[in-house]
Amino acid sequence: MAEPILRIENLRVEYRSKDLGQRTKVAVRDLNLSVYPGEVVGFLGPNGAGKTTTMNVLLGFLPPTAGDAFLFGVSVRRPIARQRIGYLPELTYYYKFLTAEELLRFYGKIFRIPARQLAQRIDWVLNLVELEPVRRRLIKTYSKGMQQRVGLAQALINDPDLLILDEPTSGLDPIGRMKVRHIIQQLKRQGKTVFFSSHELGEVETVCDRVAILQAGELKAEGRVTDLVQQHQCANLEQVFLKIIGYHEPSDQLTGMAVAQAA
């Protein structure tokens, strides 16, 4: 089996919170996860499960308390580990005083892409995300959807081998979500590896090869979507997800309460 592109080993992240009276909050608890080349892996979990914390560690924003993570065999603590990745944050904010073209040229410079190739690359990604007509407009004039697409463009500027997307369809309309889904599928066909978190389980089910489900910092389930559905005897991924995190329908509770009161 090929070496994993992304390897998380016994990752533990703890916060010391003033709100909790300086007690330690464990955000990620002994996480082990691997992502192999060419896979599209969905990283799921309810809010506060530790998904963004894990991604922050992968991207070097946050040092782990224990354990480590590796990108292409290089520890994430080293900046060179990020040479071949692209990252789309959940909240897409970019320099409002730049145009899309200038922003991509800036990021391309950081990747040391030669000028001529960079110009071609910028043209290509802007066409891909359908921002070519507005490439010279300042980003502050863009709509939410356009800013999201700029985010996708900057994540692709260096032709990355691994894409880390944090809720890529967040805030998008159905057409926008479809376009993003289409791009992920296109990247998958090109042999790229995609690791993304999302709350849109329908989309995850459509595009992902594997999913990993996190809750309270712990990895609760991992595997192929079809295998998980079969294993947990559920109809779809959403039910698997709800079952794993132990969520019960509110109607059951109300019915139960009404029955108890009547009794």
Binding site: R82, D159, Q190
Partner: protein, 285 residues
């Protein structure tokens, strides 16, 4: 992927594994790239243009005042113009530097940047480089204006003096930029950083030269404390050669000029080192 592109060699993807430390050229490239963004921001904001227009307007209005029908009075105009340039330079340097990191954190533009193969130190140094370059560009415009105004009145242009004044001013603002960047990592709000940096810088400019005299008049242990402070603070007033320019004292020896630039470089490096150390330990959220 576009077939035409896929057939091209993408050297940054096929580059062999980098050594343990980042290559110096890569670091300089990143610093320069980040600095370029800062410069672009400065000339797309209105601050510089407003300050320049104000300076030019006030200078030209004051230059049109008639004093006893003497049309060759120039020193008051030079002093006024240089004073406005100094105020404008300080405002540009402090406000530009103080808002860099807080704005990146507040607008969350820091995350996509740090997700690239760039270290926090390179981001900080890039911000400094951009602020300092941007300030230098602004100063060039201001000093050219000053040169034109004084040259037309005085009918002479001591280029060596003006060049020294410009470069000393620029290097002084480098120390100020570094100080403001450090302050922006210590204080939460840019307004706090602006105020404190301006107060500190103004205090040094006004009192720095005289601290040793003040120290000598104090009893111990305050004399030692103040004298120690006198040696520790960056003496920004060294770079204020306005009196020499206004009163036509001529250029200072070039060796002394170079030593002063070196002095500023050392202090800027120390402040930036402290800022890098702080930034590495800061949580980004």
């Amino acid at each position: 992927m576009n077939p035409a592109i896929s057939s091209l060699v993408w050297p940054w993807r096929r580059r062999p594994e980098q050594p343990a430390g980042l290559h110096l050229l890569t670091a300089l490239n990143n610093i320069h790239a980040v600095g370029g963004v800062v410069i672009r921001e400065l000339y797309r904001r209105k601050d510089f243009y407003v300050l320049f227009v104000l300076t030019a307007l006030i200078t030209l209005v004051m230059g049109s005042v008639n004093f006893f029908n003497e049309d060759r009075i120039v020193r008051y105009l030079k002093e006024l113009c240089l004073f406005l340039i100094w105020v404008s330079g300080l405002v540009i340097a402090v406000t530009t530097a103080a808002r860099q990191i807080p704005a990146e954190r507040e607008h969350r533009t820091l995350f996509p940047l740090l997700a690239k193969p760039v270290t926090r130190a390179q981001v900080l140094l890039g911000k400094f480089w951009g602020c300092w370059l941007a300030t230098g560009l602004a100063l060039v415009v201001f000093y050219v204006f000053f040169g034109v105004v004084s040259g037309l009145r005085e009918r002479q242009l001591p280029l060596d003096s003006y060049w020294q004044a410009l470069t000393l001013h620029w290097f002084m603002l480098g120390v100020v930029c570094a100080l403001a960047l450090l302050g922006s990592l210590v204080f939460a709000a840019p307004s706090s950083t602006n105020t404190i940096t301006l107060v500190v810088v103004t205090g040094i400019l006004l009192l720095g030269r005289h601290l040793n005299k003040v120290a000598l008049s104090l009893p111990e242990p305050w004399q030692t404390v103040v004298y120690g402070l006198y040696f520790v603070i960056p003496h920004l007033e060294l770079f204020d050669v306005r009196d020499l320019v206004v009163h036509n004292w001529g250029a200072i020896p070039w060796g002394i000029w170079l030593a002063a630039l070196g002095y500023a470089t050392v202090y800027a490096a120390l402040l930036l080192g402290a800022a890098c150390w702080l930034f590495r330990r800061k949580t980004l959220n």
